[in-house]
Subunit: 202 residues, 2 copies
DNA sequence: CCCACAACTTGACACTGACAAGATTGCCCG
DNA sequence: CGGGCAATCTTGTCAGTGTCAAGTTGTGGG
């Protein structure tokens, strides 16, 4: 009631009525609002009723697009894995994939957080599993395409190592655990150094 | 059912009633119950009232020991950092510290999860910050005590790398993201291989 | 044109965290 | 020994939440 029409006037043609019963793109509105809340205060602070208020709809409207709270978070995670897959796919080499992984976590912190919080997700959701598989394929491809100078190490282990390093760095970064060690240096540049430490082949 | 131990007769109570009005060690009981719930279903599934029910006390009893939900989780995180510090301190070298880090995450998944979920914690809590500082000291000590053959790399960067690798591996492990890559191999042994990949000096 | 379906609303219920005020008890100090 | 005091626990209450059920409104395809 207090937020009749905030600045949610995105792509509507007839922008006269304050609340035209049909929102137009409520699903997207709820998603972006949820991403804002999660990025600011974490997934715990997320309230479906609050999201509905922000979008200017009734408290039960979100349930029609996402069945319940878990459904909303699952949709976010699926979207995140899709974005990540696309990002990794364009990587030049494995180190670049790692850099992009870290960049993704920083640019999409809400997605990243939810993607790796399995208790919040519907594990058997189709969109989620397919998107996750896509991201996994992209990661595996980046690993196998690495310059195979280190023949002695199993490619699978190299993949685990690369993923662990990137994931740990990104996670600690988002949790503000590396503020003083990294300082004001560019995190991506720091990670590049870490990656060379892992795979120094030449 | 729940009222069988309240309204007891007015006996002396020195040797008769096992658990009268006063629980005895309610704080510990709530903590361990909370750890069970978190390990099973994550911190989101945690309900103060449910914990009170499990302990056989009234719904408002936990609030006396931990001010609120955040207070309970903060206490868990502080305890976790204390345990971690003690574990890391006993490490032989840096690789052993990493192995112990991973082992800690697997043996105390609830602690580990809460420790690195800053939105759930009271950041300025004294016990938490001191325990965290202790753990940080132990980690830093393990890093600086490493065999300094790799002169070229900054010790600080080496610390970030080691922590990132261990933390990422542990996190992915807990999130069940490494089930098929690791397979039935011992995770600690797998991590040992990763660690040697990071620091191969000879 | 109309009607079946999608989008949204209203209402209700059980549950939760948090607060306030009262009850009970261990125990310290006289 | 015993009285009071503070810690511990209870009862009661309130606003807020997720989720279900049933009704209302708009819209696009036959």
């Amino acid at each position: 009631m207090r937020t009749l029409l905030t600045m949610t006037e995105k792509t509507d043609g007839a922008t006269k009525t304050p609340r035209p019963y049909h929102h137009g793109d409520l699903r997207r509105a709820i998603l972006t609002a949820a991403l804002d809340v999660i990025a600011a205060d974490g997934p715990f602070a997320l309230s479906l009723r609050d999201l509905a208020r922000r979008a200017g709809v009734s408290h039960a409207a979100p349930a029609h697009h996402f069945k319940d709270r878990t459904g909303l978070l699952t949709a976010i995670a699926a979207e995140g894995f899709g974005l990540l897959a696309q990002t990794i796919r364009d990587a030049a080499d494995l180190k670049d994939a790692g850099v992009r992984y870290v960049r993704f976590a920083r640019e999409h912190p809400a997605h990243f957080q939810v993607m790796f919080a399995p208790d919040l997700l519907r594990a058997d959701d189709l969109e989620l599993t397919t998107a996750r598989a896509l991201a996994g394929d992209a990661l595996r491809e980046a690993v196998t395409a690495v310059n195979p100078e280190n023949r002695g190490t199993d490619a699978r282990l190299a993949g685990i190592a690369a993923w662990s390093l990137a994931h740990g760095f990104a996670t600690l970064l988002l949790g503000r655990n590396l503020d003083d060690p990294v300082g004001d240096r560019d995190p991506e540049e720091v990670f590049r150094t870490l990656a060379t430490m892992l795979f120094r082949s030449a």
